[in-house]
Amino acid sequence: MLFAGFYTALWFQGGKVKTRNLFTKFGTTFLWSILTIITLFPIYWMILVSTRTPVELFGKPDLSPTFLEKVHWKNFTKPFLDGVYSDYLFNSIIVATSNAALVTVLALMATYALSRFKLAGSESIFFWTMTNRMAPPAAFLLPLFLLFSTVFKFGDFTLFDTKIGLILLYCVFNLPFAIWLLKGIIDGIPKELDEAMVVDGANLFTIFRKLIIPLAAPGIAVTSLLSFLFAWNEYLLASTLTSVYARTIPTGLSEFVTTTGTNWGTMAAVALVSMIPALLFLFAVQKHIVAGLTFGAVKG
């Protein structure tokens, strides 16, 4: 509501606004400060919880930064050194990295084909990839579980609870995303450049190596980083299709929903650790995040 009051004035001016009014300027800063507190406060509390013992968490919430004086490291060491969470972390790294690599390579090939070749029905294929991204994963839990555990069977090997299963599965939402993001970028590289190289006798591999990849490098980087992030953050499919050997770190979080004496401190610690790659990427992709999250439909 506060915002509404302030910005009706700005609205009416439309387009780019250059405010010289000091009151508006500091008003804006003030409102954004409040917003920033709202954003950070829950995260700050999680950090506090992750550094305290169960008994310290009893009673009225203490909001002072006690971690400056004392950190209950056991919340971190217990799950990650004694527990299975180090395995989950390792699985997450393998799955997300492999999936991002696979998706980037496949999407680059597919996008190039869709962009340069006149393939019959290529528009329909393009749309069809998108429906995979639209579909709610909850609708696919049962068929995927049954397929992974009983139908896709090669001797004793099933895809259930394997990292390879997750790596393939995450293509279902990451491939459409990557194809969409890269399509705009590759379409933007003039076709004439490819044709000139073909005349010089270059094959497809050379075109990719010398032309497409260098020119699309920033786009490819964003694609793979965001694919990694989506794979890292995925919960529902992983929780249904894994048990032990391919369990990822987000699924580990749900294991805290009920355990004896609900150990909030450990839960906060695991949540915090699982956020680390996201935070690292934030700095790397911040400039491109809009283009990335809108599949390239809006340039950041």
Partner: protein, 293 residues
């Protein structure tokens, strides 16, 4: 070379192959299972064919399932409206320059990269009775009792607030990108023609922003119809059915009650509704994009 379509198909084939395996095959499989009566806990735990429409006929009268769909749609519309309004205002404010803008913008981006299940955990720790500070603060300073374990309305709105916290930044940043890219000429000629600020906003800014708005609406609707993770963490779908969105309902029917056949039919209907809604928006988005080219 580019007339040689074999090479093109070759480049495309791995993508198509993988998407068939993890996308198309599960779709046909769930369609198939949806025609059977099947529950492994039953006296007869095998698949029994009882006519094509067996499960679907039942679903049409299944109030709980239909309500869950209605709840998901209501949730999507509510969060979308709130996020769009808030995001638009924030995007406008970011057009001007003010102290610490870069820092604020950076912090604002933060929730976007956090996993939904982690967002659920953060909010659980923040709001759960006996641990989280929010109920205490509301009680002490506003005399307001927050206990979404008891209050269905509060539970629903708590999820809405969590979603706003998580996704408004997406709306803000996307709209900001759109606003920054608007051409200045229409504004200048409108001013020469003597249009007032309100008219300019209504007849110039909004129409020029429509393509970006559609993208935002499309992506937000698509994702909010799917919501499961953070709700699962925060309320588990309760109290009662208050936050049992379709995804959670299907999970419970399939993996708790083991209604495999009925759950598959639900999945198909859920899929159908989501795709139809998304498809409409998607077609609008694509045709708009085309007409601009």
């Amino acid at each position: 070379m580019f007339s040689n379509n074999k090479k093109g198909w070759l480049l495309l084939s791995p993508t198509i192959f993988i998407l068939i395996i993890v996308g198309l095959v599960p779709f046909f499989y769930v369609l198939y299972v949806g025609f059977f009566k099947w529950n492994p806990l039953a006296v007869d735990p095998s698949m029994q064919f009882e006519g094509f429409g067996f499960n679907y006929r039942r679903l049409i009268f299944d109030g709980v399932f239909l309500e869950s769909i209605w709840r998901s749609i209501k949730f999507s519309v509510v969060t979308l409206t709130l996020e769009l309004s808030l995001g638009f205002l924030l995007a406008l404010s970011l057009l001007s320059s003010f102290p610490l803008k870069k820092f604020f913008r950076g912090v604002h981006t933060l929730p976007l990269v956090i996993a939904p299940i982690v967002v659920g955990s953060i909010f659980k720790l923040f709001t759960v009775q006996g641990l989280g500070p929010l109920p205490h603060l509301l009680k002490d300073y506003f005399g307001y009792t927050l206990n979404y374990g008891m209050n269905a309305e509060q539970a629903f709105w708590m999820i809405v607030i969590m979603d706003i916290w998580h996704w408004t930044p997406f709306v803000t940043l996307t709209l900001l990108a759109g606003l920054s890219a608007l051409p200045q000429d229409p504004y200048e000629s409108a001013k020469i023609d003597g249009a007032n600020n309100f008219q300019i906003f209504l007849y110039i800014t909004i129409p020029m922003m429509v393509p970006v708005l559609i993208v935002v609406i499309f992506i937000r609707l698509m994702d909010s119809l799917k919501i499961v993770d953070e709700v699962w963490m925060l309320t588990g779908g309760g109290p009662g059915y208050a936050t049992r969105f379709t995804g959670i309902h299907i999970w419970k029917e399939v993996f708790e009650k083991r209604y495999y056949g009925l759950g598959s039919a639900m999945s198909i209907l859920y899929l159908y509704i989501t795709i139809v809604i998304c498809w409409i928006l998607y077609s609008v988005m694509v045709s708009r994009g085309k007409s601009e080219d």
